[in-house]
């Protein structure tokens, strides 16, 4: 096979594979994110008076606060991990499009966030006594749609924050305002589904999430190359 540089899709998959392989071997970030998530579930339970608010009503809000912050724990590592040995320079110099670097990083982050969610959701259902099985499918849709938006924005800002003087301190400051629409839609949709309301009640929120995802993914992929030009 001649030495042709890979196309955007294949290059993105290779970069995602590289990041996931590093994570799989060290397992440091995923364990700390998982431990954080389950620990936060336990801590949040005591933040409200259980006689005033039923634990089932708290669950959706708690879940989304946790997803927002545990996501950010992993996102900084995405570009921060390239920093000590400046391997990001090799990625930029590699004969692949800048968009591919962004999509690959984003894909790896999406897998990371999804893994945290797959563990946290059942744990939340268990600890907060919420029936999960009947709404599993629509809920998975909401969670995935929100994760895509969180990851697109978070990956882009992680790429920016890592090159600034403030590094990881800047990431929450930049991303949280952008997470507001995601968290509003996702937690409201989750609350409706968990309360046993029909899926159509959550449809408006899900629609807005999907539109947000589309805009966030397209826009951040397009602007990313202007972050890495030298």
């Amino acid at each position: 096979m001649p030495n042709r540089p890979p196309g955007i899709g294949r290059a993105a998959l290779m970069i995602a594979r590289k990041d996931l392989l590093i994570e799989l071997r060290s397992r440091s970030a995923i364990f700390s994110a998982l431990a954080f998530s389950v620990l936060a579930l336990a801590v949040f339970f005591f933040a409200w008076d259980p006689t005033a608010v039923g634990s089932g009503d708290l669950a959706s809000g708690v879940i989304w606060v946790i997803f927002t912050f545990s996501g950010m724990l992993g996102l900084h590592r995405s570009f921060g991990g390239e920093q000590p040995t400046r391997t990001i320079d090799a990625l930029i110099a590699a004969p692949v499009a800048g968009e591919a670097v962004f999509l690959g990083k984003g894909l790896a982050n999406l897998v990371f966030v999804a893994m945290v969610q797959i563990v946290t959701l059942p744990a939340a259902a268990l600890l907060y006594n919420v029936p999960l099985v009947p709404v599993a499918l629509p809920l998975a849709g909401v969670v995935l749609a929100a994760a895509i938006g969180l990851v697109a924005i978070g990956t882009l800002f992680s790429a920016m924050a890592v090159n600034t003087r403030l590094a990881e301190l800047l990431l929450p400051l930049l991303s949280l305002p952008f997470f507001v629409p995601i968290v509003i839609c996702a937690s409201q949709a989750t609350a409706k589904l968990m309360a046993g309301r029909p899926v159509s009640d959550a449809a408006d929120y899900l629609r807005l999430l999907v539109v947000f995802d589309a805009v966030a993914v397209v826009l951040s992929t397009l602007v990313y190359p202007s972050l890495i030009e030298q």
């Binding site: 920016m160 930049l174 952008f178 629409p181 509003i184 409201q188 807005l208 805009v215 602007v223």
Partner: protein, 225 residues
């Protein structure tokens, strides 16, 4: 320091509007004197959106044309816009306490303004955290564009969120049409604040240019350390 004609006109018109608002505009029957804060609040909100709109336009043009002047415009407009947004967020609660009975409610428009305020605080913090001039311009242009793209989403999501909750009893969205004497004051306050914005923007732009020239002399092309 030389005082520009624009400065004189801008400050004089704001003073004139305030005099008209305080002495020559009647007190609203139900809200009392608190209503007069509208003549600061509403034009500030108008200027804030104008300013952030200009940030987005200048940011987009910067990524295309790479003219440092566009970056100075975006920086200046973001900073001036943030000042006016702060004025909106401060005057709002002052009015809301006597009229709604609470300084803050999570009403759609309030939440929207607060989130927007945080976006541009982030924008200025980002600028301050990057030393390389070219990189700072590119990064903040990206954020300036994303900030504008976020606006419709915050708008929609906070409106959807609000509709789930009953509205506070005191706060109703009905805006009774104003008597002409108040409308004239309000419209002239918009004009005066726009002049104020243009003047402040121009001064801030001059500062950005001067600071960059100074950095250039001190540190070479790399910008400030």
């Amino acid at each position: 320091m030389k005082i520009s004609k624009l400065a004189v006109v801008a400050i004089a018109s704001v003073v004139a509007v305030f005099i008209r608002a305080i002495y020559f505009t009647p007190i609203e029957a139900k809200q009392g004197a608190a209503q007069k804060i509208l003549y600061v609040h509403a034009p500030s909100a108008w200027v804030a959106f104008l300013a952030f709109g200009l940030v987005a336009v200048a940011s987009g043009l910067y990524l295309w044309l790479r003219d440092p002047k566009l970056d100075y415009i975006a920086e200046s407009s973001a900073e001036v816009g943030l000042v006016f947004t702060t004025a909106v967020l401060l005057t709002g609660p002052l009015w809301a306490k006597p009229v709604w009975g609470a300084y803050w409610t999570w009403d759609a428009r309030l939440t929207f303004t607060l989130v927007l305020w945080f976006v541009y605080v982030g924008y200025l913090v980002l600028r301050g955290a990057i030393e390389d001039r070219d990189m700072r311009a590119r990064y903040s242009a990206v954020l300036g564009i994303l900030g504008a793209a976020l606006v419709p989403f915050i708008h929609l999501s906070v409106y959807m969120f609000r509709t789930l909750h009953p509205m506070p009893v005191l706060m109703k969205p009905s805006a009774p049409s104003m008597p002409p004497v108040m409308t004239v004051t309000l419209v002239s306050s918009f004009a005066a604040f726009t002049l104020l914005y243009v003047w402040l923007l121009r001064e801030r732009y001059k500062l950005a240019v001067a600071r960059d020239a100074a950095d250039h002399r001190l540190y070479g092309t790399e910008g400030a350390v």
